[in-house]
Amino acid sequence: MSVTYIDAIREAQEKLLRDDPRVFLYGQDIATFGGAFKATKGLAEQFPGRVFDAPISEDAMIGMAVGAAIEGMRPIVEMQFADFSSLAFNQIVNQAATHFYRTGMPIPITVRLPSGGTPGSGPFHSQSMEGIYAQYPGLVVLTPATVSDAYHMLIDGVALDDPVIFCEHKFLYRWLKSKSINGDHLPIGQARIIRPGKHATVVAYSAMVHEAVRAADRLQQDGWEIEVVDLRSVKPLDLDTILASVARTGRLLAVGEAFPWGGVTAEVVSRVCEEGFHLLDAPPQRLNARDTPVPYHPKLWAAHRPTPESICEALRKLLTF
């Protein structure tokens, strides 16, 4: 009996709909059809009047969610792909994210973004937008990497009074399986040491956590012990755990699937330099996707994002500095 990452998301929404009458789901094709990825399969039948098909209007979907939140509801809006959330960008960053600061009333909406690439998904079905949303004050940005986190963090995210951008990774949907959804249930804002080590630290999030672990396994054969930190949430960022790890190892590589300019990996490196400069025995490094749109062809795609091979290579350079 195993649970996939997408099962966990579906189960979390089921639990939320059952336990909290304020929750409703709004998204394209999510009602009878159950969603483009079946993340809401069966929920419309199970909970009549709580799961709705939206018109193709990302701006209005979020605007409407903000209004519903003002009047006491907790909407979960599913964007069919993270890439399409750019059409809702104004409502997310200017309406939802500023509302508490400006009016004192928080907006408890959750926006689910199917993020990241799969072979052949192409430039507009592969984007990782966590860095863009993390830039704006007033948003919580979550990036679960495990089946258990996908379940618990969605539930914890909906319980927050602030707007949550929930970046779920499409590659992990069906590829990542677990025996159960019950993991260690850490609170939002805490990172997890997913693999202990002593020679170097890799900080990663979402699908890249798994690539980093595979790279670490390979380097283990050469006697290197690589520590892997799963950020879990990009904002708030758990700098304490990252610094503790760098204190142990002295070497840092931050890995992310997003585009290389700025973003999560740059934020990690810059904060470690600011507050943990004396812990570094080598210049801290970052590894991201290439500075081009995500290519369609699987061979190109495989070379566009970090892989266990490219992570190993970056680590070897770091380890021999």
């Binding site: 209004g67 003002i70 006491g72 509801m73 400006r102 928080p106 919580v140 708030p236």
Partner: protein, 343 residues
Amino acid sequence: MDMQPFADGVVMNRDFLRSVFHSMLKARILENKLSSLYKAGKIVGGVYLGRGQEAVSATLGTALIQGTDFFAPLIRDQAGRTAFGEPLIDCTRTYLGSAQGPMRGRDGNIHRGRPQMGMPAMISHLGAQVPVVAGMLFAKRLQGTLQGRVGATCIGDGATSTGAFHEGLNLASVERLPMVVIVGNNQFAYSTPNHRQFACADLVEKARGYGVGGFSVDGTDLLACASVIGEAVRRAREGGGPQLVVARLLRLSGHGEHDDGSYVPAEIKSGHYGRDCIEVAMRQLVEHGIATVDEIFAWQDQFAEEVQRAVAQAQQEDPPDPYQENWTALSTRFSTPQPCAVQ
């Protein structure tokens, strides 16, 4: 304001009209004062007035029921805000930078609102409030208390070009929500005339495209506004779905007080729709015996006093203190420390 425009379905409710006119007059006096304050250098940032749109805005605000209905005012809705119940001091405090204003200095001028009161605070992106009002109504439907409620917002002719307006009205229509969207076609979006803004012959034609009720009204005519807008609100309230009202009038000020509107042609200014709705209203009220000239002058003095007091009080209050500010945009306190560029 628990007032119905129609006393018995046909005849105009006298008290309703007097109430609307109060809000129109008060708003005009207040905004004239704001303009003065701006030109005396007392206001930082932009000042955008609703001169010329008072009849439309105040009628809507009076027809809506505070505590039941939702009203998302936009740029030129001072009269509507006053009618809906926003205290004058909220306006003067926000413009004059008092820390006690509803936005506490974190946003200014017409971006103020009280979402807890059913009056959300607008953002600068035009059209964005349309889906927000729809969402507020949607929540009420899920909570089982939508019956008898209306949600309304006003926008300009320019905002009808935005994607947000299109998506929002479409969604409200698909969901059959009791919304009223009033388009104040004041013929200029900043300096852009109608023929550079839309290509249909009349904006009200869009109502058909969205599957919503459509109304046209002469925005300079108080009695016409009361009749048409009153009807639109009634239809929405009785389950007729969204209603689009297109009011024709002229903006009687610059786009903002930093703009002198010198691009508005003289013919338009002296044409029918260039009439001042307050002058028109005064004539109508006196003609129909709804108010006397003496009463109107008395109201002018009374409102000037009120405005003066609100200005004087706000001017003496302290501005926000950056050293006492809680510089956070999240209501949640996380256990790990949050980033701060400057401590």
